[in-house]
């Protein structure tokens, strides 16, 4: 043990450490990991099942190999759901990033008002997506909603919200933005609070304009924080299910049918589990690649920002 501690800063020779000490971390970590892996066995099952014609209606199933995959990849409905997935992810992420960053910058100045708001603004983030939909139905309902009554003042009656093909996406994005903007806000605010003072004082002495300071100092140093926010929001938005399901179950028609919704309905309404899975596996690949890309960019930016 003493050799191990002495050598801590150098490279560790694992053979010098007694075996029981060397194995200890694995034992400690095992329960947590086993619980998680146990629940991830289904992931392997998902790949196998995607090659079968498994259905909850049929007593048995057989392998159909790539049939489900080929059907998925040649199905116009799949490309529609992919398009909805990307559209929804893009709209929610962009609106939340812009709004969250903007409000964080407004909260930068430390006043009593902003300190109270910082706490209050975290509230919507705690609301479950399904409950958020209920809350917004109280707002937008054409019979009792306060927004309807407000729009009536401006001469707009029975605004369709989630019920119409043209406004359903807007409504879903609005609810998602209401819930999740505080997440971006909090992360960017943490970034703002960690900004070092000296570069900004130097810029002020040099007489740099506010915009120039923001562009060359603030923004690059905030970017690593914004990337973390972007990573979390984008990953969640690509697989959003709760808000859309609670709002319209993918409707009206197939307006909000993203990949998650399509798979859920294929599996449970049409009882075809095998058919539902290829789309989800493709979504999982997309999410994984996006995450890897963003994590890589974030690390590079964090290093760059520290160079200032």
């Amino acid at each position: 043990m003493s050799t191990a501690t002495k050598k801590k800063d150098e490279t560790i020779n694992y053979n010098e450490i007694p075996r029981n000490v060397r194995m200890r971390p694995y034992f400690i970590i095992a329960p947590g990991l086993l619980i998680l892996i146990g629940i991830m066995i289904p992931f392997a099952a998902a790949i196998v099942l995607s090659l079968t014609n498994y259905s909850f209606k049929l007593p048995s199933f057989k392998f159909v190999f790539l049939k489900n995959w080929i059907n998925t990849l040649t199905d116009a409905a799949f490309y529609h759901s992919l398009w909805v997935t990307l559209k929804y992810a893009f709209c929610t992420t962009v609106s939340q990033m812009l709004l969250g960053t903007g409000i964080a910058l407004l909260l930068k100045k430390d006043t009593k008002f902003s300190r109270i708001l910082k706490v209050l603004f975290t509230f919507p983030l705690m609301v479950a997506p399904a409950i958020a939909v209920l809350i917004w139905q109280l707002m937008t309902s054409n019979s009792i909603g306060v927004l309807e009554k407000l729009l009536n003042v401006f001469g707009v009656f029975n605004f369709p919200w989630a019920a119409s093909h043209s406004t359903a996406l807007f409504t879903a994005v609005l609810i998602d933005t209401w819930v999740n903007t505080p997440f971006v806000l909090l992360l960017v605010l943490a970034g703002i609070q960690s900004l070092p003072k000296s570069p900004f004082e130097a810029a002020q002495v040099d007489g740099a304009s506010a915009w120039f300071t923001f562009k060359t100092l603030t923004l690059p140093m905030l970017k690593p924080f914004m990337y973390i926010a972007l990573l979390f929001r984008l990953m969640a938005a690509l697989q959003e299910f709760g808000i859309i399901f609670a709002l319209t179950k993918g409707g009206p028609g197939d307006t909000l049918m993203n990949i998650s919704l399509t798979a859920y309905l294929t599996a449970f309404q049409f009882q075809k589990l095998g058919v539902a899975l290829p789309g989800l596996l493709i979504l999982w690949v997309i999410i994984n690649f996006t995450a890897k890309f963003l994590v890589g960019r974030q690390r590079k930016l964090a290093k760059q920002a520290q160079g200032y």
């Binding site: 992931f43 409000i103 708001l117 705690m126 505080p182 899975l277």
Partner: protein, 285 residues
């Protein structure tokens, strides 16, 4: 700093500064309206009778009949308790299994450490529906469908990655010397862990446990697929209020309010740790 310059620069900036302050506060107020009014409106709606719901906006005679209807008349209260049991059980299991894992990932240097840590994180990013479809199948076969154990197990996908990553950071914040000093004093490893380390990370542990609880409480996809008639969670039960033929909006509002209230109270207690928890320890707010 120079006393002669101070008043001059102040008067020079004042009109611009006032304009900036007005703009800033206007922007903040607008966003505050967007973020908070829906919650206020929800609360107002809980006190409106069915008739007043349609013909009043802000001026009405408050009534408690919606609260009575929801809490006494239906199985909402049962769902509330069951949700509490499932979420609480999930967090408990996560703490028991996850804190040691977080400790190992923070303190020990072993092969594949970062690989294992990222594997744990990646569970968070797997599409919930993809995980849940085969789980549904397997749970029906092995009898875990619609049981507490089944739901608590699946909820580990929500709570465990969060807790391990956040608590790992709190362990890393404690210097190794603290541990070594305690060991030199003759404490066993077990004692060091429970008597010196755990008290030190307690605030962080409580905060991340509460946050994990909130996420579990909010879960929608898992209980939608994996629970049936026996176990009902609050998110699923609440949705039924809007699905019925004649919607009692007052009851919808009460159901939502009771679902949200515990979370907002919990959120007030963990403000200091919120950023760190939400970003899985990536940002130390």
């Amino acid at each position: 700093m120079n006393p002669n310059q101070l008043p001059k620069s102040k008067s020079h900036k004042s009109s611009l500064e006032i304009l900036e302050a007005v703009g800033r506060n206007a922007g903040l107020s607008l966003y505050a309206l967007f973020a908070l009014f829906p919650l206020v409106w929800m609360l107002l709606c809980t006190f409106k009778s069915d008739a007043q719901m349609y013909n009043t906006v802000f001026r009405f005679t408050p009534t408690l009949e919606n609260y009575e209807a929801v809490l006494l008349g239906t199985d909402y209260f049962k769902a509330f308790l069951q949700n509490l049991a499932v979420s609480g059980g999930a967090v408990l299991l996560t703490v028991v299994a996850g804190v040691p894992a977080a400790y190992a990932l923070a303190r020990y240097d072993f092969k594949n450490k970062e690989g294992i840590a990222f594997q744990i994180l990646s569970f968070k990013f797997a599409p919930e529906i993809m995980v849940i479809l085969p789980v549904f199948l397997i749970f029906q076969k092995i009898g875990l469908y619609d049981t507490y154990l089944g739901l608590i197990w699946v909820y580990q996908l929500i709570t465990m990655p969060l807790l391990i990553w956040v608590v790992r950071g709190y362990f890393e914040d404690i210097s190794v010397e603290v541990e070594q000093a305690a060991q030199l004093d003759g404490y066993s490893w077990f004692d060091v862990f429970f008597k010196t380390l755990l008290p030190l990370i307690k605030p962080g542990l409580v905060a991340s446990g509460l946050l994990a609880f909130i996420f579990a409480w909010n879960s929608f996809t898992f209980p939608l697929v994996l629970s049936g008639f026996k176990i009902q969670t609050i998110t699923i039960t609440s949705l039924r209020y809007i699905a019925s033929d004649t919607v009692h909006y007052g009851q919808v509002a009460v159901a939502s309010t009771i679902a949200v209230l515990p979370e907002i109270i919990a959120c007030l207690f963990i403000q200091k740790h919120l950023v760190r928890g939400l970003s899985f320890g990536a940002v130390k707010g």
